[in-house]
Symmetry: C2
Subunit: 146 residues, 2 copies
Amino acid sequence: MATIMRKMNMISRCESIYRTQQLDGVDLQGVHHSFILAICNNPGKSQEWLAQHICLNKSNITRHLSHLEQNGYIQRKSDDHDKRILLVYPTAKMLEILPEARKIVERWNGYIAQDFSAEELKLFHSMLDRMEMRAKELVYREEESL
Amino acid sequence: MATIMRKMNMISRCESIYRTQQLDGVDLQGVHHSFILAICNNPGKSQEWLAQHICLNKSNITRHLSHLEQNGYIQRKSDDHDKRILLVYPTAKMLEILPEARKIVERWNGYIAQDFSAEELKLFHSMLDRMEMRAKELVYREEESL
């Protein structure tokens, strides 16, 4: 039998392909949806904050933010109090696709759980919460010890 | 409350960071673990087969396979019967890290579900199976209609 993570990764990657299909004609990939939602909902946060919020390592965050900046979706500005900290803001171009990005996420979440009862859904959420807590705990403990 | 996918993506990305941390010193990222397992367990499969098995779109598969080839982890050969089809084989360098990659996957899967009872785990698996089936169905239906 496939492992828990194999199954979760497959669902997650299917979602990523779906996001890319649905935002057709836009030069963004599935993973960038997470950036759109995170940056538009939290304008002016630092790259470090985004790395933790989206849960990607520094080199991946930097790569994706560069792509978004080069394509006119974000602007980066130094923090007034500490020039080493880069703050990330959405541009009008990113804000324009936000409503569609939200709808795609909503459609996908509704679709994959469509045949779940309210009770099953509640149970599934609570199981995911427990796993997410353990996952974060281990990763951030390891990061601190590096 | 965070959506199902937000939670699953967080767990999936934590796993990816963990894989990268654990395979320290190797020029591979978390997602490459899926390639190591898929290619070593199924040597000589086509790129198209890998795309479907790992569930990534063509441009991502091509980018990751190029990285793996450039770093000496895989060899690609044309199919004898159809030169347009590229078959993927692991090199000794990839086979060497396979045992460690397997152990990392096993440790992570064991860790995140450690406080689940056997019954809870069975239920969680069956819920994931239902979602995975729906996810694949939608993505491949959309792909055919493009």
